[in-house]
């Protein structure tokens, strides 16, 4: 297993290299010019060219690429064109809110979806199952931002139970931290809840049809033990896969929720950096997202071996 993990970690290097190559050149080929944005409304073409020169954007693209790669090799992701702050600082500032939102969303989604999915499978084609599947369809169909505004309207503006927006780090206290995450986690979690519930149900239905489950039931094993110890454990592989994909998607894809709830996370940093053509920040973020996805996939693969003894590396 250790050799497998080491092999997989080394295999990430060419993946990251390809990502770096693509992100660098795609950004440069995309329309837009940070120098024009900096120089502003009243800037002449000459003034824009002067800014471009000072930023080093007038140098050959290949030269710019190798300068960046050399910086990366030394652990330096560069400096934001606009704020003049290190990209590592900008990303680390935004990491905690995004990770907190991701984990709280998954917590909400998993804590509700798995029991609901198990019950739906157990009561397949009965009213409970229909209700769960109806909710799953609704959860998929409703855009997250619509639900977000509805939640804000009732829970924050009308009833004033929770804040409209913002993020407060855990260092400030547990409740301030949690209260800022409740509405965004619910708004974002509903889609994942629906997805995980459906996968759990489907996977459980498959396992519940197996002979060993029938045998366990025939032997008079308690239903909860059958469902949780026998069925759920054996149905876990596809569920874990979906949860893992969810983590990877959430880390890089919570832009809308972060925007609506004004959470200063990586998603918002990405959008603004793209719109402003802040090349070093976008490049750094894409590398972080790629690394996160590779890492999450690795963890999922490793977890398979623990959940299913038949899988060995």
């Amino acid at each position: 297993m250790t050799a497998y993990i080491v092999r997989r970690l080394f295999a990430t290097l060419p993946v990251m290299a390809v990502v770096a190559l693509f992100v660098f050149f795609l950004l440069r080929f995309a329309p837009g010019d940070p120098a024009a944005i900096i120089a502003g409304e009243d800037a002449t073409a000459e003034a824009i060219a002067a800014v471009r020169g000072k930023l080093g954007l007038d140098r050959p693209m290949v030269e710019q690429f190798f300068v960046w790669i050399l910086q990366l090799a030394q652990g330096d992701m560069g400096v934001s064109i606009f704020s003049n702050l290190a990209v590592t600082r900008l990303i680390s500032q935004r990491l905690e809110p995004t990770v907190a939102l991701t984990l709280s969303t998954l917590f909400v989604a998993v804590a509700l979806a798995i029991p609901v999915g198990v019950v739906a499978a157990w009561k397949a084609r009965k009213l409970v199952d229909r209700l769960v599947m109806g909710f799953a369809v609704l959860g998929f169909a409703m855009p997250g931002f619509v639900l977000a505004y509805i939640l804000i309207y009732f829970f924050a503006v009308q009833w004033q139970l929770l804040p409209v927006q913002g993020y407060r780090p855990i260092g400030e206290g547990l409740w301030p931290f949690v209260e800022c995450l409740i509405l965004p986690s619910v708004a974002l979690g509903v889609t994942y809840m629906a997805l995980i519930a459906r996968i759990t149900r489907a996977s459980m239905l498959e396992v519940l049809a197996q002979d060993y489950i029938r045998t366990a039931n025939a032997k008079g094993l308690a239903t909860d033990r059958v469902l949780l110890l026998l069925a759920l454990k054996n149905a876990a592989v596809p569920i874990i896969t979906v949860i893992g994909i969810g983590i990877a998607l959430l880390i890089s894809g919570v832009v809308i929720t972060e925007t609506v709830f004004n959470i200063p996370g990586l998603g918002r940093l990405t959008v603004v950096a793209v719109l402003k053509r802040d090349y070093p920040v976008v490049q750094g973020l894409i590398l972080v997202f790629a690394a996160a996805k590779v890492l999450v996939n690795l963890i999922i693969d490793i977890s398979y071996a623990f959940l299913d003894p038949r899988i060995r590396y």
Partner: protein, 526 residues
């Protein structure tokens, strides 16, 4: 890298720990986030708002756009108007404790004068800036330029701020690394989270102008009203509105027009017009370098497609907040006039089509840079494109984000080679009220702004305005200038607007109407 990561973590935790103390905190949502801390390096308005908190200026224009001394204690103008002698006030100190000296002032003016359009124009008449001593310096002109004080006190973008000499010596094309000024608030750089919040702490050593002069835009005594100002960036307008209604923020500089009726009814919230002069003017810029708009007849044909009410209803909606203005110099400003306004008399697509035909237009595609992500420019472009299509023009509306428009409009190539024919933009109403500060009215050919109108007569009139000695003379020149600029179609205005700011009247007071930039230092908590 580890240091950067630690700095990032500290920036997240410390603000809240510090805020727990019993401080008076003003939380304000501005029109943009503070992403750049050098207001000379960029022309972004938000950078100037940041700059006016952190730095001080020699002069500040008051609500009537008259320059009043700010850092300057006294000044003299020689009878021939060629020598200005300025003496700094006592007690001026930078945030690091060092005194403000004329070395700092001269270096700052030189940097500003090498970057900002108004500064460049002023410095083109300055032969020397010389320090008499640490507190007194002379500005010597080669000609009696009439806009010296107005330029030093200008608001809007790239304000003539005074920074420490060591930062002021930085190449103006490069951003300074520190924001250490002598203004009423200190910038807390360690707590800055670009794209989220910028924090300013009260400068306890600030010495305001004596006499407790009432604040009037950028003039008057700058007395810090709260211990801490947090410029919070909420990009979603609906969330920002809800946060204000919920009392999570105190001040919202630029609420979306759609939400004004809700805010007007919200408990504890008040709306307030930002100033006497409308904040924004809309403009359609035609590219004078390429057909069809290299032909004056084609440019003038476009006037027949502009019904300003159509644009303003699409952008603002409520007539209370907009004004039809058939001039280039801001209506309601000191140089408003009716020169050239006759061009707008007749909205008539058929006539526009006929004039275009007479100008030699044969149905070639007209490239319009169509911004898709701007709350005012996008609807304005939609209205324009619709009117052009009604006239039967072959419109090639190319959709792109504003960042791409900003980049693309600088291209002088023909539209088929990546250039353009038309783009829509806006400019500040205060800047557009003065022929010298209003750079878009210029027609300096290759050296001018995108679209590159070329007319020596216009430049001659702008220059004459700067040297006029009486207000009457200035008004006459302003009218001649506007008439000529409209005849040449340097741009087509589509009206002006001034949406109110919103604030929690039950929590804060002391908001000052401004001329171009939000004035935050005088706001106090109840």
């Amino acid at each position: 890298m580890l240091k950067s990561i630690l700095a990032g973590a500290v920036a997240l935790v410390i603000p809240f720990a510090a805020a727990q103390a019993q401080e008076k905190v003003l939380r304000a949502v501005m029109h943009a986030d503070v992403r750049v801390i050098d207001p000379i390096w960029t022309t972004q308005t938000i950078a100037s708002i940041h700059g006016m908190l952190v730095y001080d200026t020699l002069f500040g224009n008051d609500a009537n756009l008259k320059p009043q001394p700010q850092m300057v204690g006294k000044y003299e103008i020689s009878p021939d108007r060629l020598t200005y002698t300025f003496t700094l006030r006592d007690g001026l100190k930078f945030h690091d404790g060092s005194p403000v000296t004329t070395k700092d002032v001269i270096a700052s003016l030189k940097r500003w004068g090498a970057k900002d359009g108004v500064g460049i124009r002023l410095m083109s008449y300055v032969t020397n800036l010389e320090a008499v001593d640490d507190k007194t310096f002379k500005m010597i002109l080669k000609e009696p330029y009439g806009m010296v004080l107005e330029s030093l006190g200008k608001s809007g973008s790239s304000v003539a701020i005074i920074m420490r000499e060591q930062e002021a010596l930085t190449d103006p094309q490069q951003q300074v690394k520190e924001a250490i000024g002598s203004g009423p608030y200190k910038f807390a750089k360690d707590l800055w989270v670009p794209g989220s919040k910028a924090i300013y702490l009260k400068n306890k050593d600030y010495v305001p102008r004596p006499g407790n002069e009432p604040p009037s835009s950028f003039a008057g005594s700058k007395i810090p009203g709260v211990d801490r100002i947090e410029l919070v960036w909420i990009s979603d307008p609906q969330t920002a509105m809800s946060a204000l209604v919920n009392g999570e923020i105190d001040f919202y500089e630029a609420p979306n027009n759609d939400f004004l009726p809700i805010l007007a009814k919200a408990k504890g919230v008040k709306l307030m017009m930002t100033g006497k002069i409308d904040s924004t003017q809309g403009m359609i810029r035609l590219n004078h370098l390429h057909p069809p708009f290299d032909n004056i007849k084609a440019r003038q044909a476009m006037y027949h497609l502009i019904n300003q009410e159509d644009f303003l209803r699409a952008i603002v909606g409520n007539p209370e907040y907009y004004r039809v203005c058939h001039g280039l110099l801001t209506c309601g400003g000191p140089y408003e006039n009716d020169g050239g306004s006759a061009f707008f008399k007749d909205y008539n697509p058929k006539k526009a089509a006929q004039l275009m035909k007479e100008a030699g237009y044969k149905g070639e595609p007209i490239t319009v840079l169509f911004t898709t992500d701007h709350n005012t420019i996008t609807p304005a472009t939609q209205v324009l494109v619709q009117a052009m299509r009604e006239a039967g023009l072959n419109v090639d509306a190319q959709s792109m984000d504003w960042g791409s428009v900003v980049s693309r409009r600088a291209k002088k190539e023909a539209p088929a080679q990546g250039g353009w024919n038309i783009f829509v933009t806006t400019t500040g109403g205060v800047g557009a009220s003065n022929p010298v500060l209003h750079t878009w009215i210029g027609a300096a050919c290759d050296k001018g702004l995108f679209g590159w109108p070329c007319d020596p007569e216009i430049e001659k009139l702008r220059n004459a305005f700067a040297f006029a000695q009486t207000d009457e003379e200035r008004k006459k020149i302003a009218k001649d200038l506007q008439t000529r600029a409209m005849d040449q179609v340097v741009y087509i205005p589509f009206g002006q607007w001034n949406t109110p700011l919103a604030y929690r009247a039950d929590k804060i007071e002391g908001i000052v109407p401004n001329t171009g930039l939000a004035v935050l230092w005088g706001i106090t908590k109840k």
